[in-house]
């Protein structure tokens, strides 16, 4: 356990030293503030609740940005250390292999959590300072965006670890990570839509469609945030329509956890057997 925390601590410290954390936090804060400040322009001050608009904007931003950051952090985690020779040294120490991979994951997750909470939190802080009046429930939705963004990040970290454990070269890991990002973030929904159109509503029933939505962590995230909260759903337009009634937030959270536990578990299992 001590080894696990030591490795996590080392990873966090390194994140601060090499300015990764600073860069990511600034990036996320920059985007979040831009969306918050510009996002309130079209809605004006009449009627629309600027906090809820921010929630919708931030969740759209997260779907693109967070998986990318998580994959960039993680694709290198195992194979990079193998190639630099640092893993050989680390594993010569009295620790179990899952300590090494678990500790690094914990460290990377802390880095990502810090960047998300501080970056997005700054947008919330600006709204607070502006004196935005809103119901408590809406702040709950805002908190849920931050929390679920961290979960989404964790899922892609786990996927990145799996990639990093499987490959034999660092460049391969980078290539696969980019493909995974493209697939889950850009191509998947389009392909799903195309499939629906081509199918003409004959073969793919609602059950299969819903299952296909859950098979993508970003869709689970989208459903959780955009359809999960009543106030938010009114602002999301057509996105909120899908499967609105089908899944409870609990199921969606469960799916997100599954997307963390399964790839990470698989990565750990493979890592235990890996010959360094």
């Amino acid at each position: 356990m001590n080894a696990l925390l030591a490795i996590a601590g080392q990873e966090i410290r390194d994140g601060f030293r090499n300015k990764w954390i600073v860069a990511m936090t600034l990036l996320m804060a920059g985007f979040a503030l831009t969306l918050t400040l510009l996002g309130s322009a079209p809605t004006g001050t009449v009627g629309a609740n600027s906090l809820l608009v921010t929630v919708v904007s931030l969740s759209s931003l997260t779907i693109f940005l967070v998986p990318l950051i998580a994959l960039m952090l993680s694709y290198d985690a195992v194979i990079g250390e193998v190639e630099r020779g640092t893993l050989l040294l680390l594993l010569s120490y009295p620790l179990a292999r899952w300590h090494a991979i678990g500790g690094k994951f914990l460290g990377h997750l802390s880095v990502l959590t810090f960047a998300t909470v501080v970056g997005y939190g700054s947008a919330g802080a600006v709204l607070l300072i502006q004196g935005t009046e809103t119901e408590t429930g809406n702040w709950f939705a805002f908190g849920a965006v931050i929390g679920s963004s961290v979960l989404l990040g964790a899922a892609f970290l786990a996927i990145g670890y799996l990639i990093s454990t499987v490959v034999k070269e660092r460049a391969t890991a980078a290539g696969i990570a980019v493909s995974v990002w493209l697939l889950f973030v850009l191509i998947y929904d389009m392909a799903l839509l195309g499939l629906l159109v081509a199918d003409g509503g004959n073969g793919i029933g609602p059950t299969l469609f819903n299952a296909l939505l859950l098979a993508n962590p970003t869709d689970a995230y989208r459903l959780f945030n955009l359809a999960g909260f009543e106030g938010v759903a009114t602002f999301t337009g057509t996105i909120g329509l899908t499967a609105n009634a089908e899944f409870s937030p609990l199921v969606l959270l469960g799916v997100q956890f599954g997307w963390i536990v399964v790839p990470l578990g698989l990565a750990t299992w493979l890592f235990q057997r890996k010959e360094i």
Binding site: N2, A6, G85, Y93, I276
Partner: protein, 311 residues
């Protein structure tokens, strides 16, 4: 045989075989090192030295055979216990460049369940006390190597595995490195050194194990290896003006390698060298100098590299 040799060895490989996807990298290696022994593992690149280190560290498992370190199977369930008593310096050592030397030592000390107190002494010992608070980014190759050595010594290990430990060290640091090794040896530490620096090894190690293409070609003390190799001693005579050719002519029985105006170089069987020296003085030519070179590790190594592999 010393008493120590009868003790349980700290490192042991018994008929170890390692195959990767059908490619055999180690052939039936049996090899052990007792407490207080310093053993050099020499061989060309890819001979299997690093594979042996990895087996001893439990990073890979033998395809066949047994590996034991400090009485444990290093890849078994008590592996962590065995590794607690081991120190390792990898061939290419690298550290997170944004950490300071001291931070890195603290990190590894924590992994080895040691306090931080001894770290200062270790950094001092490898000559990094002044650089301890600088980031590794600013370190030279030799300094990184020394930091690698310092981390291997954390927690006074009973077994040290050092892969190319003296690369990047200047002659002074090399000497102090070997001084350190000798004092560890006196404390009963087992040291296994993989190295290419043959000339600096031969006077400092108890045994040399020569590897080639995954086979253990020879394993013994320098004297034993010399005897087994039965390589000739090489003798160089410097004669008075112009009499080298004459000396060469009169040196019957010796294999003349080189004659050049004033010098004659010839080989003779090591055990006959005194007899030959006696004859040299009776040659009737002026001898100004005589150099006798016993077969060194370089030559023994060469011999075993060229030797037929056991099938």
């Amino acid at each position: 045989m010393t008493d120590r040799a009868t003790e349980q060895p700290n490192l042991e490989l018994i008929k170890a075989v390692k195959r990767y996807d059908g490619l055999q990298v180690l052939h039936d290696i049996s090899f052990s090192v007792s407490p207080g022994q310093v053993v050099a593992l020499v061989g060309h690149n890819g001979a299997g030295k690093t594979t042996i280190m990895k087996l001893l560290l439990g990073l890979i498992r033998p395809t066949e055979g047994t590996v034991r370190v400090l009485g444990h199977d290093p890849a078994g369930s008590n592996a962590a216990e065995a590794r607690l008593g081991m120190g390792f310096l990898p061939e290419t050592v690298s550290f997170p460049v944004n950490m300071t030397g001291r931070e890195i030592m603290n990190f590894y000390a924590r992994l080895k369940r040691q306090g931080r107190k001894a770290n200062d002494d270790l950094l001092e010992m490898v000559g990094l006390a002044d650089a301890a608070n600088r980031r590794v980014k600013t370190y030279s190759k030799g300094m990184r190597q020394r930091l690698g050595l310092a981390q291997a010594l954390i927690g006074s290990p009973r077994v040290l595995l050092l892969d190319e430990p003296t690369t990047g060290l200047d002659p002074t640091l090399r000497r102090s490195f070997y001084d350190t090794i000798m004092s560890l040896k006196d404390d009963g530490v087992t040291v296994l050194l993989a190295s290419h620096a043959l000339s600096e090894l031969e006077t400092r190690v108890d045994r040399v194990a020569i590897m080639s293409n995954g086979h253990l070609m020879a394993d013994g003390s320098m004297a034993e290896l010399r005897q087994r190799a039965s390589l000739p001693a090489r003798i160089r005579l410097t004669t008075g003006d112009g009499s080298a050719a004459m000396a060469a002519e009169r040196l019957q029985g010796a294999v003349i390698r080189h004659v050049n105006g004033r010098t004659v170089e010839f080989d003779c069987p090591s055990e006959d060298k005194m007899e030959l020296v006696r004859r040299v003085t009776d040659l009737g030519v002026t001898i100004e100098d005589i150099e006798i070179e016993l077969p060194n590790l370089d030559r023994i190594y060469e011999l075993y590299q060229q030797a037929e592999l056991p099938s």
